[in-house]
């Protein structure tokens, strides 16, 4: 069994092998591997005893279940109207300048992927982005460059970098 197959098996043990457990399993793979490889999806199909086409068909429906290679950190820039009006293009430009990639691309080091996404639910603090699960809001080109700097300096991912949203009790 390869490493990926073992991971899929572990996730299937954890969540269960019924169809209703498909999404949590796929989400678990994406959390670890950043995207779904064919190998992983075929293994999921075996574990759940459904066809691989069913797995791919379901995964490809959801924009957060990527089936193409993604970097360690997936940056999703909100492109819906409020963020668009508050300068999301300047944020994308700043990210492109720092990482030397265009929207849809992954850096050669496989550290970052830059994507656009639909409404993230931070319209009052636009422009907003997600880096993996962490939201960053009220961005300016200078602020996003500083944030990317933090991620790059922390290249091994030793520390978990927390977004700028604090929740209150």
């Amino acid at each position: 069994m390869t490493e990926v197959q073992e991971k899929v098996r572990d996730l299937s043990e954890k969540y269960g092998r019924r169809r209703e457990n498909l999404l949590p399993i796929l989400q678990g793979i994406v959390e670890k591997e950043h995207y779904l490889t064919s190998e992983a999806m075929i293994q999921v199909a075996k574990e759940l005893d459904i066809s691989a086409a069913e797995v791919y068909g379901t995964a490809s429906f959801y924009s957060f279940l990527d089936t193409e290679q993604r970097g360690q950190y997936v940056i999703r820039v909100c492109k819906t109207i409020s963020c668009d009006m508050k300068g999301k293009n300047s944020i994308i430009k700043a990210i492109e300048d720092v990482l030397k990639i265009k929207v849809g691309e992954t850096t050669q080091s496989k550290m970052f992927t830059l994507l656009e996404t639909n409404c993230l639910g931070w319209c009052h603090k636009a422009p907003a982005i997600l880096i993996n699960d962490e939201p960053y809001t009220n961005l300016t080109p200078a602020k996003i460059k500083a944030i990317l700097g933090d991620y790059i300096r922390n290249a091994e991912g030793k520390q978990k970098i927390i977004g700028d949203i604090q929740y209150e009790r």
């Binding site: 209703e20 959801y62 957060f64 009006m85 639909n118 931070w122 009052h124 209150e168």
Partner: protein
């Protein structure tokens, strides 16, 4: 508030001094008593569609089934809406309390929060709250357990039947209705699915009483509502306001002095131009909203706004039914062609006909509601579409 026509309300976010106090007092009452209170209050769903909450609960309670389900719909994806995130962050116990009251009435033992993938950062916090809450339910002897199901970035999953499919591990495609969720929802079990905000109001009505709630709002739109306000405003954010105000009063308070249009109800809602501010009421008798209020000032091109919406729907269409899948592509191509002078102005009429077809023939709200924003923008800002 400087304007008397707008009233700020504090039902949703008001902190409780004693943990789970309202829930404990409510579950001590009889089911009939609670249900009567909620039906009396005239509370309608706060997710946008506005179905009477008490009736929904009653229908589910009347179903004879061994297993029933309560789902809190936290798949808030409508552009310009962000109030559910705030409610879940500030008063999660009230949301959970609302679910528990519903479970008691309909006889459900399992509950889920369907949390959109974009809000995954809330998981550790919400799981902590849930652990405490599930423990408390055991202590008070209510046989009900809540879990969180995480979405994965699909707007259409906010549609209730698409949400069930998603939870069943399938593509999030809406189902045909009927059967309605209260008859056959998740795994064909009778299911009550309510928006985050609706559940909090249901709980709070049990505390403040239907009379006090009904005293707010109008005969069609009882009570208050949490609004998500964004766009060209000096004070964007989340506000709980009494229902039934005019757009004029709203803009007086939240506009930047140069407001040209207000989009009510998000990309699937209506665009109200300045000349109609006074006559337009925000509520079920006028323009209903799930809370999204986006303000545009005179520097904004309404063509860009419309194009952005069409882009959104084109991507988020589940692709299951043709009118919606192809319709959005054609609408986008069409407005681009008119803008670039490849088609003449009359072509807009043809596009308008297409939106009517989509409204009639699409399976769910995603395809049906395009006619709202498309016609309200194109009719009121025709020049901007052409030149």
């Amino acid at each position: 508030m400087k304007d008397k026509n707008l009233k700020i309300v504090d039902i949703i976010f008001k902190p409780h001094l004693v943990k789970y106090e309202v829930l404990d007092k409510t579950v001590a009452r009889s089911n009939e008593d609670i249900l009567k209170e909620i039906i009396d209050s005239g509370l309608r769903g706060r997710g946008g569609a506005g179905f009477p909450t008490g009736l929904k609960w009653k229908f589910a309670a009347e179903q004879k089934a061994k297993k029933k389900i309560v789902i809190c719909n936290a798949d808030e994806g409508e552009p310009g809406t962000f109030k559910d995130r705030e409610i879940l962050t500030k008063v999660p116990r009230k949301v959970l309390g609302g679910m528990a009251v519903c479970a008691k009435i309909i006889g459900a033992k399992r509950g889920f929060i369907y949390l959109r993938g974009e809000y995954k950062y809330l998981l550790p916090f919400l799981n902590e709250e849930l652990e405490d809450f599930n423990k408390h339910l055991k202590e008070i002897g209510l046989d009900f357990k809540i879990d969180i199901f995480l979405g994965s970035g699909a707007y259409v999953c906010g549609e209730e039947s698409a949400l069930f499919n998603s939870m069943e591990g399938k593509r999030g495609e809406p189902r045909n209705k009927p059967p309605y969720p209260t008859v056959a929802g998740l795994d064909n079990m009778p299911t009550v699915i309510n928006n985050v905000e609706t559940l909090v109001y249901a709980l709070m009505i049990c505390s403040i009483g239907s009379k006090e709630f009904k005293a707010l709002g109008t005969s069609d739109s009882r009570g208050s509502k949490v609004f998500s306000i964004s766009g060209d405003t000096p004070i964007p954010g989340i506000y709980e306001l009494e229902l039934g105000m005019s757009v004029y009063d709203f803009v007086e308070e939240f506009g930047d002095g140069d407001t040209k249009a207000v989009q009510i109800g998000g990309a699937s809602g209506f665009c109200v131009p300045r000349k109609k501010f006074k006559e337009t009421i925000i509520g079920f008798e006028g323009i209903p909203t799930g809370g999204s209020m986006m303000i545009f000032n005179s520097t904004r091109s309404m063509y860009n706004v419309l194009h952005n919406y069409l882009d959104f729907f084109e991507e988020e269409s589940c692709g299951q039914c043709t009118p919606c899948r192809i319709g959005y592509q054609q609408l986008k191509k069409g407005v681009e062609a008119v803008k670039h002078g490849e088609k003449n102005e009359e072509y807009l009429q043809q596009l308008m006909k297409l939106t009517e077809t989509m409204k009639l023939t699409s399976k769910c709200g995603l395809g049906q509601s395009v006619a709202n924003s498309f016609s309200s923008i194109v009719n009121n800002y025709r020049e901007e579409m052409v030149y």
